[in-house]
């Protein structure tokens, strides 16, 4: 059975006709060509397929698009603005927080949600927030460093913006 659904992804509206059992991960990758969202386990354990729904991290391999009409979905492709890397992406690149890069989209989006809720989270808070995103390359050290750096830059930027 197929359903007609309207999805907002990275602020773009999409009208789709998809089988009702198709996961958000599959629709993003196969129907919308947004292959930046990766699959790692199909069971909601590894965090690789994380996207944001209304700003909250959601495992797209466990989410059904039919239930997400009218919600705002953000994928890694929606992080950079106008060709400029998001401060998290910039910090990840500078500090070597991505190696093979496969888990990185999910990590970035989880971190983005954390920083939106908490401007300068302590390291243990970052650890806790990212506990659902497995990375097999980095040993996490540089990921934690990069989130801290991005948080610092974002909050400085926000302060500077407020002062203007």
């Amino acid at each position: 059975m197929k359903a007609r659904i309207a999805l907002s992804v990275n602020d773009q509206p999409h009208e789709l006709l998809v089988p009702v059992h198709k996961t958000l991960l599959e629709v993003l990758r196969e129907d919308l060509g947004l292959t930046g969202t990766k699959h790692g386990c199909e069971l909601g354990e590894c965090g690789t397929c994380t996207v944001l729904v209304d700003g909250e991290p959601v495992l797209s391999c466990l989410a059904l698009p039919v239930e997400l009409e009218g919600r705002r979905i953000t994928t890694v492709e929606g992080l950079a603005e106008g060709g400029r890397l998001h401060p998290l992406q910039q910090a990840f690149a500078e500090l070597g927080a991505a190696q093979c890069g496969y888990c990185t989209p999910g990590v970035l989006l989880t971190a983005q949600a954390l920083l939106a809720a908490e401007a300068l989270p302590p390291r243990d808070r970052i650890r806790e927030a990212l506990a659902g995103n497995l990375c097999r390359c980095t040993g996490y050290t540089k990921i934690l460093d990069a989130v801290e750096l991005a948080a610092l830059r974002l909050s400085r930027g926000a302060r500077a913006g407020a002062g203007r």
């Binding site: 386990c41 199909e42 950079a80 992406q89 190696q99 093979c100 496969y102 650890r127 097999r136 040993g139």
Partner: protein
């Protein structure tokens, strides 16, 4: 980072079909028949194949172990063996069709452990090998070990077990095959070894190698798990040949647990003699590897459980006996550290025990016995530079070892949970000295082509698996040519375009591809200098290339921009394209088996782990890991640290939780829900110290960093657990239940230990007896093929 990297499963081609494999649910069974009628009738199915449709060729990554079939024809040897494949219009249809294939099975007894396989010679998993269910048996002896033990003040015999684990890259294997109407095949795959896949596809599919192109897509984590040619790649190619469409196949996570080729479970017995001062008089190790159902890299793995230990410490006399046993489990192969973490665990835990018995500080004891630079080991391996002593000093200093080790031992641990520190060291190869198939050609090749724009194209067969090889190689070319990194364009791992690089394994790419890159860049620079020298009317030797210009330092105003220098060069020489080649120095020991172990140079590592053990629950909490790694020279410290930290992480997983275990023929944990691996919460802060020794064999002095730092982690943790609670866990993973069992044993007055109690009854073959080369100076003259200019 931006989602733009296109991994194999991100590729989409017009008219692309999707494939699935039907895999065995039996651990050992004869195939009586396969009926694909119902599957073929399903709408949307484009082709169904079984092994009967493929050329009857057996293959394997090593020439000595040609024992695999892409789709099994006679019998299956493990749960997960593929027997049929389907191509369909979409993945769901292909999967549905697989369920409609009827296979008549005749189950055979499944042998699920080393002991079972040796106890049942009447059940044969394979018909070849060094005995019933024995894939390979090796025995090497360098000097008289019995005499060495007789000289010793202390002789220790210990047994250890190292459980198998899997690589668990986050990207599952995937491939897209396209057999074009011109009869040429292209395969894009998540592979670490496009060259070997190229060679083997030609053989397996019975097609000229000249018409096969293998492109390694960016790999989403490898760690050794993407080094073999796999059934899914072969099936996708053949299905594309049949359907005339591109065919994609992407493995599920469960399939990756079967495809695997991860860490071998190894049972070990280690006997070492020590003097009162802590010197080693001689060492004898026996290893039994649970190889699983096929050969894979197993012969090499077997040797690696014996040959590398003597590189770190002075062992004047050495004996090694090893055997790899077939079982009905997914085959094991190379995982980060390939065959060496297991014997390293045994050695480093035994050293800790010996130090205690001798009343020595385990750090000081190791410091005393490190190998001398530019000498040979008992088994004829050449140590070039070694920074192991400095590595030990640096972690001892940084971790506060002396205070913690002595203070906490006296019961002054600062928390209620018992706190402990443990130390261990290791050594690892920077690239294997011999290729998988014997040949006299380069191990790495590079072509550099300068463009009139001033850009330089770097064509090399190396595969970036996340270790950053593309950027390292680009930086070498940029350094030699004095141009910006951004002006170098790397085109990796495409067998029709790039010279052969053997693959991203055994920590070889930075050194071997790096040396080839430097050679190509120097040749290109030489040609450019010749042309610029003519224009400026100076000697070529007076020129330098830097900051994007070529000129004489004293007269820099006349320096020529690099793009113009290329034009001058092209006007003089024609197209500017230069090759670089590298093969390791020929230093293999002159005895049978001497080809495994030699490497241009070895990296060294020392680590201290600080942890707590809860005596109520048996839980271990890691606080800090200090790790010092001799990387020769840290050319890109950020990348090196990343490799070290990633290795530590993977070591922590193996030490504390990761295990590939089976029950009644079935994998117990073939999913990420059940197979436990460390998250941010179990991974402590890692303090990395880089030690530099500037090795003459490495590019700009560099050695490997991607594997060696994993090795000391498991024994350092085991030693710290003993330091904390006084129990010896002589096997990994060190889980809470084992700690509780050991504590309980102690309460009952039994030895406070969990580990293997008995060894298999197994007669190793007569050893190859060779004189020990221990302490001999490194050869004065070294043959480095293709690098004659470097010697001049």
């Amino acid at each position: 980072m931006t989602g733009e990297t296109r991994y194999a499963d991100d590729l989409v081609l017009p008219r692309m079909a999707h494939a699935k494999l039907l895999r065995s649910s039996h651990a050992h069974a004869r195939i009586r028949g396969i009926d694909t009628t119902r599957a073929r009738a399903l709408p949307g199915v484009l082709a169904v194949i079984t092994g009967a449709d493929l050329p009857r060729v057996r293959f394997g990554i090593l020439p000595v172990s040609q024992d695999e079939e892409a789709l099994c024809t006679e019998k299956v040897r493990m749960v997960g063996d593929a027997v049929a494949a389907v191509a369909a219009v979409d993945e769901e249809t292909a999967e549905q069709a697989c369920r409609l294939i009827d296979v008549a099975w005749e189950p055979l007894p499944a042998l699920m452990s080393i002991e079972e396989s040796l106890a049942h010679p009447e059940v044969r998993i394979h018909e070849y090998g060094d005995g019933p269910n024995v894939h390979k048996s090796v025995a090497l002896q360098f000097g008289d070990v019995e005499a060495a033990f007789a000289r010793a003040d202390l002789v220790r015999e210990d047994t250890f077990y190292y459980e198998g684990s899997t690589h668990l890259p986050l990207e599952q294997h995937a491939a897209v095959a396209h057999w074009g109407p011109d009869g040429k095949l292209t395969l894009w795959s998540s592979t670490q070894t496009p060259h070997y896949v190229h060679r083997l596809l030609a053989k397996i599919l019975d097609v000229p190698a000249a018409h096969v192109r293998v492109v390694a897509a960016p790999v989403g984590g490898g760690f050794g798990g993407k080094l073999d040619p796999f059934a899914h790649e072969i099936a996708a190619c053949h299905l594309s040949r049949l359907t005339g469409r591109p065919v994609k196949i992407a493995l599920t996570r469960e399939e990756v647990f079967y495809v695997h080729r991860g860490r071998h479970p190894v049972l070990m017995w280690l006997k070492t003699g020590f003097t009162r001062q802590g010197d080693i008089t001689g060492c004898h190790i026996k290893t039994w590897l649970d190889g699983g159902a096929y050969g894979s890299y197993g012969v090499a793995s077997t040797f690696y459980t014996g040959v590398i230990n003597p590189v770190s410490y002075k062992m004047p006399v050495y004996k090694f006996e090893g055997a790899r046993i077939f079982t009905n489990k997914p085959p094991c192969g190379p995982k980060r550290g390939h065959g060496t973490p297991q014997p390293r665990f045994a050695l480093e835990v035994q050293l800790d025990r010996a130090a205690e018995q001798l009343g020595l500080d385990p750090a000081a004891m190791r410091r005393r016995i490190v190998t001398e630079p530019f000498t040979k080991t008992a088994n004829h391996l050449t140590v070039t530079t070694t920074g192991l002593a400095e590595c030990i000093d640096r972690v001892v200093e940084a971790s506060g070892w002396r205070t913690k080790w002595r203070g906490w031992r006296a019961g002054e641990a600062p928390s209620e949970k018992k706190r402990g520190v443990g130390l261990a060291c290791s050594a690892y190869m920077t690239g294997a000295g011999t290729a998988i198939y014997w040949n006299a050609m380069p191990h790495s090749g590079v072509v550099l082509r300068a463009d009139r724009s001033g850009a330089v194209a770097l064509l090399c067969g190396a595969t970036d698996i996340g270790q950053g090889s593309d950027s390292i190689l680009a930086s070498f070319a940029a350094e030699v040519l004095g141009i910006a990194l951004k002006d170098v364009h790397v085109h990796p791992a495409d067998t029709t375009l790039t010279p052969v690089d053997l693959g991203s394994y055994s920590s070889r790419v930075t050194l071997m591809c790096g040396m080839a890159t430097i050679q190509a860049a120097e040749r290109l620079r030489g040609a450019i200098f010749e042309a610029v020298a003519k224009k400026l009317e100076v000697a070529p030797g007076a020129l330098v290339a830097r900051g994007g210009r070529v000129g004489v330092p004293e007269d820099w105003d006349t320096a020529v921009p690099f793009a113009q220098a290329v034009e001058l060069g092209e006007a003089m020489h024609g197209v500017l394209a230069f090759p670089g080649s590298y093969a390791p120095p020929r230093r293999a020991g002159k005895y049978k088996g001497g080809g495994v172990g030699p490497s241009p140079c070895y990296s060294y590592t020392a680590s201290v782990v600080d942890l707590s053990v809860d005596e109520e629950t048996g839980e271990i909490e890691l606080h800090d890991v200090w790790i010092a790694h001799d990387v020769g020279r840290a050319l890109n410290p950020l990348l090196v640290e990343g490799q070290v930290e990633g290795s530590v992480y993977m070591g922590i997983g193996e030490a504390l939780m990761e295990e590939q275990v089976f029950r009644k023929g079935l994998h117990k944990t073939p999913s990420m829900l059940d197979y436990k691996s460390p998250t941010t919460l179990e991974t402590p802060d890692i303090h990395t110290i880089l030690v530099e020794t500037d090795d003459p064999e490495g590019p700009f002095g560099a050695k490997e960093a991607g594997q060696g730092p994993l090795l000391p982690i498991m024994p350092a943790i085991a030693n710290a657990v003993y330091h904390a609670v006084g129990v010896r866990i002589d096997e990994v993973p060190i889980t809470p239940d084992k700690i509780l069992r050991a504590l309980e044993a102690r309460r009952r007055g039994k030895p406070a230990r969990v580990g293997p109690e008995k060894l298999p009854l197994f007669a190793f073959k007569e050893p190859v007896v060779v004189e020990s080369a221990f302490g001999q100076p490194a050869d004065a003259v070294v043959v480095r093929p293709f690098q004659a200019e470097r010697l001049a």
